[in-house]
């Protein structure tokens, strides 16, 4: 079956612009996660969705970052007024109901470059 898909695969934006990153989880997976991967910070958790609710937003680095999930499926991560330190690969992962907490399936990521 289809895995987690993310779009765009690459995004180059100018400092100060807003960007939207999209994640399509595996069909039927109720849990969805966003992570960020950068050379300086490694792999870090951003936010967790269960259905359309986000009970854990503890990893969002600032109020410029927000995310939503609609219909218990697609999720969008929005970064407002992008800064150069936002450059990273943004990864989405999904997990099925009843799966072990670590059984997360990752998408290929969106590489964001802020110039």
């Amino acid at each position: 079956g289809a895995g987690v898909s993310q779009s765009p695969s690459n995004k180059v934006t100018e400092k100060g612009k807003d960007v939207e990153l999209r994640c399509d989880p595996i069909s039927g997976h109720t849990a969805l996660y966003w992570y960020r991967q950068s050379l300086g910070q490694g792999l870090e958790f951003l936010i967790y969705f269960q259905g359309n609710s986000a009970p854990d937003k503890s990893g969002l680095p600032s109020d410029r970052f927000s995310a939503e999930r609609t219909g218990g499926s697609v999720s969008t991560l929005t970064i407002q007024r992008t800064q150069q330190e936002d450059s990273a690969v943004y990864l989405c992962a999904s997990r099925r109901t009843g799966g072990a907490p670590y059984e997360q399936y990752f998408g290929p990521g969106t590489r964001l470059t802020v110039t």
Binding site: V4, G42, L43, P55, D56, L91, P101, Y102, F106, P108
Partner: protein, 114 residues
């Protein structure tokens, strides 16, 4: 504050050799200790995981050894193959409200020479 420390940062092993990657954690509340494999341009993929009530878990050529008292766990890749060349991440997750939030180590880049 790094909750998970992974070493070495990079590793070169000859084909057929054993690759060993180590991780140390601080918080004893963690419930699960998974390892992920990542190839360039791809997202991480779950390789193997262990719970703290067992000391070792083996799946094929991959083995996790767990030392609860030392708060350490390691990945052993037996008979390493060039196709194993990738970046490996240890992670921890758990606690009273386990949402599956993964806390990753810094990663180890493994190169297996033919």
């Amino acid at each position: 504050q790094q909750q998970v420390k992974q070493s070495p940062q990079s590793l070169i092993v000859q084909k057929g050799g054993i690759s060993i990657i180590n991780c140390a954690y601080e918080n004893t509340a963690f419930d699960y200790f998974p390892w992920y494999q990542q190839f360039p341009g791809k997202g991480p993929a779950l390789l193997i995981a262990i719970r703290p009530d067992v000391s070792e878990k083996k799946e094929g050529r991959f083995t996790i050894s767990f030392n609860k008292s030392a708060k350490q766990f390691s990945l052993h890749i037996m008979d390493s193959q060039p196709g194993d060349s990738a970046t490996y991440f240890c992670a921890v997750t758990g606690g009273s409200s386990n949402t599956g939030k993964l806390i990753f180590g810094q990663g180890t880049t493994l190169q297996v020479k033919p």
